[in-house]
Amino acid sequence: MSEARAQSFRFNTGAATTHAILIVGALIVLLPFYTMISLSLKAPHEIMQQTGGFIGAQEAFRDDYCVKLGNAAENCMVNPIIYNYSTAFEKAPLVRYLLNGLIVTVSIFVIQVLVALPCAYALAKLRFWGREAVFALVLFCLLIPVHAIALPLYIMLAKAGLTNTYAALIIPWTISVFGIFLMRQFFMTVPDDLIDAARMDGMTEFAIIWRVMLPTAIPALMAFGIFSVVAHWNDYFWPRIVITGNRDLFTPPLGLREFKGDADGDNFGPMMATACIIVTPLIVCFLLAQRRFIEGITLSGMK
C-alpha cells in the first residue's frame, strides 16, 4: 500500500516538473507573439520608453506626420490602436498584398493538383512502358529544393520576360513532386476493384480520375493543401527574387519587408500591426483546425 502511494507521489512531482519545464518553454515560444501584439497596440513613446505594460495606456497622442501636413495639432490626436492599424493599411496597399497572397497560394495549389493528380494516378494504377523510369525520376526530383535552384529559374523567367508577373510567382511551384509522390502512395491503397468497377460502368480514364479517385483522395488533398498554402503564404525568398519594385504584385511577406525597409522609430507600431495582420489568417485557421493543420504540415513525415 505504502509502495503504491510512494509511486503515485513520485508521479505527481514528476508531472509537476514536466509542467514547469513545458511552461517555461511555452513562455519563450510565446514571447515574440506577445511582443508583436503588444507593440501593435501601443503608442510610439510607450514603445521607445518601454512603458505601458501589454496594451499601453491607450491615451491619444499627437501624430507628427499629420501636423507636418499642416493640420492643427488638436485635430491630429489619435488613439494608438487605431493609429497603428490604420497606418498599416494606409501606408501601403496591404489589402492588395493580402489579395495577392491569396491569388498566388490558391493558384499554386489548384495547378499543383491538376498536374499531380493524373500523374499520380497513372503511376499508381496504370501499367505502361517506362512507368518505373518515370517514378524513379519523381524520386530523384524529390531531392531538389526549389529554393536552391532559384538562380537559373530566375534567369529563365527573365529571358522569357516574365519577371514581375503573377506567372513568375506561380510557375516554379506548379509542379509538386512531393504532391505526386504523396498522391501516388495514397492511390496505391485504393483497391483496384474500385477502378475496375468504374471501368465496367463505362467511365473513361479521365472520368475515373476526377469522379472516383479525387473524391477518395479528399483527406490527403486537404492535408497537402494546407502544407502547400502555408508554405507559399509564408514564402519570402522566391517573391523577393522575382518581384522587384512592382508593389502591385507584392505578397504579404514582401509588403512587411518593405515596411521594415523604411521604418524609423515611430513606425514600430504600424509595422507590428502589419505583422499581426499577415500572421493572423494562418494562425486563426490553425487554431480552428489544428489536427488537420498538423497533419498537413507534417505530411512530409509520411515517407
Binding site: 500500500m1 505504502s2 509502495e3 503504491a4 509511486q7
Partner: protein, 377 residues
Amino acid sequence: MARIQLDQIEKRFGDTPVLKGVSLDIQDGEFVTLVGPSGCGKSTLLRILSGLEAADSGRVVIDDRDVTGVRPADRNLAMVFQSYALYPHLTVAENMMTPLRMRDLTPVQRMPVVGPLIARGPHRDMRKQASDVAETLKITALMDRKPGQLSGGQRQRVALGRAMVRKPLAFLMDEPLSNLDAALRVHMRAELSELHRRLKATFVYVTHDQAEALTMSDRMAVMMHGDILQVGAPDEIYLDPNTLEVARFIGSPAINTLPAEAQGDGLLHVLGVSKPAPMTTTRQPVTVGVRPEHLVLKEAGRFSGTVRHRENLGADVFLHLEMAGLQQPLVLRATPQDAARIALGDNAAFDFDPADMLVFDAQGGRLRATTPAREVA
C-alpha cells in the same frame, strides 16, 4: 513453483465496474484458464496479477507474499502477449536475453559496446541460457533474425522463449494463440500443454476461445460481467455447469435450450412431452439444456423436427432441426451412417435421456437433483 491467490479484486474504469470482487486460488504447477467473452474482465484480471495494472481494492498474493504494490518486474512473473510484443530492433537472441540483462546486469554492464567487454562472464552465461531455451523450442536456427523476418508461429515461440529464460514463478498468457491461423493454433495447443507438463510451472492463460480452455487447462474459470461464474476442471464445467450462461458459453456447437414447465411433482413438460425431473419441486417455468451429442435419433423418439441444414464434418454430422414452438433450430449430432438415412426436409424423430438434461430456473440458476432421474415408461 508458485501458488497464486487473488483476493477480492475490484477494478473500475471510470464509472464502469470491470471486476467486481474476484477471488481465485491457483495451485502450484496448475494450468488455469480464464475464459469468457470479450469485455468480461479476464485480461484486466491477468494484468492486475502481472502488476501492469493496479487494482482498486483486493490483494494479490504469490507464495504467501503480498505483492499488491510490487512492480511487475519484481514479481518474477513472465507474460506472453497476444501481439507477442517482441522488440523489433533486437534479434531473437537479444529479445530472449532482455529479461536476463535487465535482472542480472548493472546499468554499466548493459552499455552497448563496453558492457560485453567488462562483463564477459555474465554475457556468456546469458547467451548460454538463451540458447538452451531456444533448443527446447527448436528455434536455434532463428537466433540471429529479427522479429520482422519471422512467421507468426515463429514469433510466438520467441515470445515463449523470452518468457522461459528467466525461469519465472508463473507464466501469464494473454490470448497468445489468437493471432495464429487455425491449423497452427490447434498444433500450438498441444505444444503448450506439453511445455506445461515439462516445466511443471504455474500457467495462467486468458482466452475467449472455450475450445482452448477445454483442451489445455487443469482448471478453468469462466468469467462474465466482471465475475467468475464457475471454477472447475474442464469436464466438470462442460457436464455440470452452474448456470445457463456457463452452459451456453462452453461447448461447440452450443448447448440446445428448450423452454419447459416444471409441474412441481418431479415431472416437467418440454414441448408437449413429459420428462422426469426430480430436481424440480415447485411449479415454475424452466429451461432445459441438452448437448447436441445427447440428442439421439430414434424411430420411437417422442420429439420430431424438420431437417433444415446438414453440417457434415466427416466424422460427425450435425443436423439442424426446426421444431414448432422454437425460435432456434436444435442441433443434433449424428453418426454419418445415421445421418445418411435422413435428407434435407425430412422429419427426424429423436429423444434424449433425462439424465443428460440440465435444468435451469427462470433466473438461469441450475436446479440439481439429489437422486439421478429415471425414465418412467
